[in-house]
């Protein structure tokens, strides 16, 4: 897959998502259009239920929109099937989640290695060890997630997200499960890596301070962007 050179790295056009329940059709997102540039950091904010996570899922190609389209690094996601989108994710995208989403049966190091293994990129031992050092987990590489604190687990998740050197990093409430002190160090780490790797950061958050640190904020209300 070609390296992503275009200026607007994420483009959403008139994005909408509806969910049919037993009695009615719920509109979760409607008419969302946006563009995010390379290396930009963007916070998606809004109250609970405003559609933040849904938008993130659509932008990352984890879900399909009801209408509209998303393009990542110049590739239209709606033209790809689920496997095509998976390959785009493997190539360009990293994730950090509120609930960490580490595989419980893999050690910290193995969790970090997993994306490389899936993409069949091996022999980057030095790179991985460096990354572990940078997130401050050199001496906890062989621990299992259940043996790590929440902050440590999120560090592992961050290392896993950066290990493939993604173009875009999606973060869903990365501090939502952490106390404020730990949260702060995690955020510092996230921004530091973001800058040093020239990664685009797209983050869903409730935290006003955190949102402030981003280049731009996109506020959602009832499924629409508030201008």
């Amino acid at each position: 897959m070609e390296k992503c050179e275009s200026e607007a790295i994420v483009i959403a056009n008139n994005l909408g998502k509806e969910v049919a329940s037993q009695f009615e059709t719920l509109t979760i997102l409607a008419g969302v259009s946006l563009q995010i540039k390379r290396a930009e950091s963007v916070a998606i904010v809004g109250v609970s239920g405003s559609g933040k996570s849904t938008l993130l899922g659509l932008l990352a190609g984890l879900d399909e929109p009801t209408c509209g389209e998303v393009s990542l690094c110049g590739q239209s996601l709606s033209k790809l099937d689920e496997d095509g989108r998976a390959l785009v994710r493997a190539e360009h995208v990293g994730f950090v989640f509120q609930s960490f989403q580490l595989l419980p049966n893999l050690t910290a190091l193995e969790n970090v290695l997993l994306p490389l293994e899936i993409a069949n990129k091996e022999g980057q031992k030095a790179h991985v060890e460096d990354l572990m050092k940078r997130v401050g987990l050199s001496d906890r590489q062989h621990h299992y997630p259940s043996q790590l604190s929440g902050g440590e687990q999120q560090r592992v998740a961050i290392a896993r997200a950066f290990v493939t050197e993604p173009t875009i990093l999606f973060a869903d409430e990365p501090t939502g499960n952490l106390d404020s002190a730990t949260g702060a160090t995690i955020i510092d780490l996230l921004f530091e890596l973001n800058q040093s790797n020239n990664t685009t950061l797209i983050m869903v958050t409730h935290d006003a301070n955190l949102a402030q640190r981003c280049d731009r904020q996109i506020r959602l209300q009832a499924g629409q962007i508030q201008s």
Binding site: S53, L56, G57, L62, D63, E82, D83, A86, L87, V88, R89, A90, E91, V93, F95, F97, S99, Q101, L102, L103, P104, N105, L106, E110, L114, P115, E117, I118, A119, N120, Y144, S146, R160, D172
Partner: protein
């Protein structure tokens, strides 16, 4: 090339993940289920294979060979050459009646002449003198010498070492013959047996052209060679010849053996199904726990294909490892068992065929794939969005899809290894019925529990509510549970049935002597002789010898079977060539049963036409029906009787039984003798001597050796049936555990939540007890319904038993299942009660 690299990378990745999963213990539950299943299946099939071979040997022993040709004319000598070419062992025998002479005394004896390799199976029971110690010998008499029944010694008043004449030659009696292995169930062979060497036939000149004799070729050899030879002989069987194979006997001990074999086949089959249930349940739990993992991997860019490949490779690897290990373990377990058997019931098992090496392995892999593929197929469709929204499970798999996939795998297996289409069908019907019943019951429960407010009933209501709330997960669990219980019940019921049947065959006081030819004038003294010795006198049955000549006025030999050979063949059945034993009585003997028509009790003695009740199998053979007129020739006097009923007779009961039972009075004024059977223990033997001396005309037949032979067989098969049942019960218990474990996570989480919300430990414990016992109780009732159906089919079509309800099981099984599931279930979920809610909620 790139593709190859990709495939290799996927392989390496799945191996790595496999290693990690294994280390974490997640795969171990599945591996354990698989291992137990394969071990159990393998050992059971090894065991059944070897037992089957042992039983076949037993049956061959009683038949005289694996394959026997019998004829009333001398047999074609070419067949012996052909057998030699096919590397089979062959023995030639000829049986005929002739007169043995010693000085002035004559005795009609039944002589059996055998060639050198006799007996092919088993051994001849002999003694060195009358009442001497019995021992076994694996050969026949050498030329010039005879082995004779003890009665020959008594009647000719000779001893071992003396000489007697048969035909034109003189022979020396060298041993006392107690029993030859292939004598069969012919207890009523009145003429005492003499065993001689086949070479002596020519010297004695007893068999001339046209002499009445029974000629046999006995063959023994490898199974395939025998099958081949059978195919060669079959088209050559003209009228007058019969081909008999070991394992086909349906009477006496033959029936016992063939039923045991069917029971073993059934056990092996049920073990496979139990294994399938265990594997299916474990796979389901495993794939459910992999939802999160595959969602994350999808998020990290793994394609659906990659996910599917990863899991397929993992499962195949698992199947391979567990397959090899389980097969070896299974072999080891059956070795231990076989050795134990050899020591306890002296049953030496022959080596197994090659098939069992594959059964467990193939069964494990097939069932694993059959049950794992549908959930795996779904696994690859887990939405990656699940990482954000945990509630997104993949679309639930349609129950019927898993069921049909697993069922298909099973049917294939069963057909592959048992080739018993009927067993498969019976089980299919039982399973489907259970499923339908289950759905109906759950629907009904939902309906009435809402209507009558059963959920308001305190703790029981709460338990019900829990079941209703998770009815979907329960449907699967309950089906698996009901199936397991059903299979265990089927085997349990069959075991009880067979054992009852067998133990009734040889009660403790089974008669071990028959006495014939008791003259009407001797009856009183005969009975008195017993009383004098303090033994209660046995009942005496009147007996008249007669020949059946006409059925509805048609001459049997000439008209019914115009082909002379066929007439000869019919005669060789034994009922027409000899005189029949006829008797009369007004009361139906205890072990006889009227199958059609009416018993002639209370019929008027004066009635002109006599009435007769005919044994049903003879009636079938001769085409006799109700109201037919039978004409007999009794000592030259004709007698006509109307058939008023057909009876079933238990020939193995060791009491006198008759093909024809007349209404009393019908046989008046005809030459009558009396017959009886009685039991004499070793210390009462002097009575026997007394009887022999006091009534020289009475023939006394000792059948201790025959009874002992049957007893040994029964003892052995009973032990086997018990062992197999135990085996399956243990396997069933393992499956039960697997089933309860299958939704442990959900239970733990729910329990923790309830405790966090303030439920006391006691309350939770009670709730668990009630929920589990309801589950077991319900599954038990459903299992019984299925088991009744399956056993009814099996009894009727496979085991030749009459189907009936099993009421004690209806009460016992649900209660037992309720208790068992409650206890086992509570142990399994003990953590919900004992661990802190925090710990439980934190654990994934």
């Amino acid at each position: 090339m790139k593709n190859q690299q990709g495939a290799m990378a996927t392989f390496m990745l799945s191996m790595r993940l496999f290693k990690r999963e294994w280390r974490s213990g997640e795969l171990r539950i599945l591996a354990l289920a698989l291992l137990i299943a394969i071990t159990a299946t393998t050992s059971i099939s090894f065991f059944t294979d070897r037992l089957g071979a042992a039983l076949l040997n037993r049956s061959a022993e009683m038949l005289g060979g694996d394959l026997v040709v019998r004829g009333t004319r001398p047999l074609n000598a070419e067949w012996l050459d052909a057998a030699q070419k096919a590397a089979l062992n062959a023995v030639q025998t000829a049986e005929f009646s002739t007169v043995a002479i010693h000085q002035e005394r004559l005795l009609l004896a039944s002589v059996k002449a055998v060639t050198d390799r006799y007996p092919l199976y088993g051994a001849v029971q002999l003694a060195d003198q009358r009442y001497g110690e019995a021992y076994l010998l694996r050969r026949g008499p050498s030329p010039g010498s005879l082995w004779v029944d003890p009665r020959v010694l008594d009647r000719l008043q000779v001893d071992v070492g003396d000489q007697i004449n048969i035909g034109a030659a003189t022979f020396q009696i060298s041993r006392v013959l107690l029993l030859e292995p292939d004598r069969g169930g012919n207890y009523f062979n009145l003429a005492p047996r003499i065993l001689m060497n086949h070479q002596d036939l020519a010297v004695a000149q007893v068999l001339q052209a046209g002499s009445r004799a029974n000629y046999k070729y006995l063959f023994a050899g490898d199974r395939p060679a025998i099958e081949q030879f059978k195919a060669y002989l079959l088209p050559k069987m003209a009228v007058g010849y019969r081909l008999l194979s070991a394992g086909e006997g349906r009477e006496g001990a033959g029936l016992v053996l063939s039923r045991t074999q069917q029971y073993l086949a059934l056990t092996a089959l049920l073990a496979i199904i139990l294994a399938a249930i265990a594997i299916a349940v474990a796979t389901r739990r495993y794939s459910q726990r992999q939802y999160d993992v595959s969602a994350v991997m999808r998020c990290l860019g793994a394609t659906q294909k990659t996910i599917f490949r990863i899991y397929s490779i993992q499962l195949l690897g698992l199947a391979l490892v567990c397959g090899v290990l389980g097969t070896l373990l299974g072999w080891f377990v059956q070795m231990l068992l076989a050795n134990a058997l050899q020591e306890t019931i002296r049953l030496v098992l022959p080596d197994s065929s090659r098939a069992p090496w594959l059964v467990g392995f193939v069964a494990g892999v097939l069932v694993l794939l059959g049950t794992a593929l549908p959930p795996l197929w779904r696994l690859k469709r887990v939405s990656p969005l699940r990482v954000i929204r945990r509630d997104l499970a993949p679309l639930p798999i349609k129950g019927w899809l898993v069921f049909s996939a697993a069922w298909l795998a099973l049917c294939l297996l069963v057909l592959l290894f048992t080739r018993e289409l009927f067993l498969v069908l019976a089980l299919l019907v039982g399973l489907t019925l259970i499923l339908v019943l289950l759905a109906a019951v759950i629907w009904f429960m939902l309906r009435i529990s809402k209507g009558i407010g059963i959920t308001q009933l305190g703790l029981v209501g709460q338990g019900f509510k829990r079941i209703l709330r998770r009815s979907k997960s329960y449907t699967l669990q309950m089906t698996a549970l009901a199936m397991t219980l059903m299979l265990m019940a089927v085997l349990g019921m069959l075991r009880a049935e067979l054992l009852d049947n067998w133990s009734a065959q040889i009660p403790d006081d089974v008669p071990n002597h028959f006495a014939f030819n008791i003259m009407p004038t001797d009856t009183e003294q005969f009975s008195q002789a017993f009383s004098e010795q303090g033994v209660s006198a046995p009942p005496l049955y009147p007996m008249v010898r007669g020949r059946l000549t006409k059925i509805n006025g048609v001459d049997i030999n000439a008209e019914l079977f115009p082909d002379k050979d066929e007439a000869a063949e019919r005669r060789s059945d034994g009922s027409l060539n000899r005189e029949l034993n006829l008797s009369w009585t007004d009361s139906l003997p205890a072990d006889n049963e009227i199958v059609s028509g009416q018993w002639h009790s209370g019929a008027s003695v004066e009635k002109a036409a006599a009435m007769v009740s005919v044994e049903k199998e003879l009636a079938e053979r001769l085409g006799i029906g109700l109201q037919d007129e039978l004409e007999f020739d009794i000592a030259g006097q004709p007698l006509t009787a109307t058939v008023t009923s057909l009876r079933s007779v238990v020939w193995e009961s060791f009491t006198p039984n008759f093909y024809m039972l007349f209404s009393s009075g019908a046989l008046n004024n005809l030459p009558t003798t009396y017959v009886t059977s009685f039991r004499l223990d070793a210390e009462q033997r002097q009575l026997l001597m007394k009887l022999v001396q006091a009534f020289p005309s009475i023939t006394i037949l000792e059948i201790d050796a025959l009874i002992a032979q049957l007893q040994t067989i029964l003892e052995q098969v009973t032990t086997l049936v018990e062992i197999m049942l135990l085996f399956v019960l243990l396997a069933g218990l393992c499956v039960l555990l697997a089933i309860i474990q299958s939704d442990l996570d959900e239970r733990l989480r729910e329990g923790a939540l309830m405790r966090a919300l303030g439920a006391s430990r006691r309350y939770l414990q009670w709730l668990n007890y009630i929920e589990f016992s309801l589950l077991g109780l319900l599954a038990g009732v459903l299992a019984m319904a299925g088991a009744e159906l399956v056993t009814a089919l099996l009894y009727q079509r496979v085991f030749d038993l009459s189907p009936h309800w099993h009421w004690p099981f209806w009460l016992g099984l649900p209660v037992f299942a309720g208790l068992l599931v409650a206890v086992v279930g509570n142990i399994a979920v003990q953590r919900t009660v004992n661990q802190s809610p925090m710990q439980l909620l934190n654990r994934r």
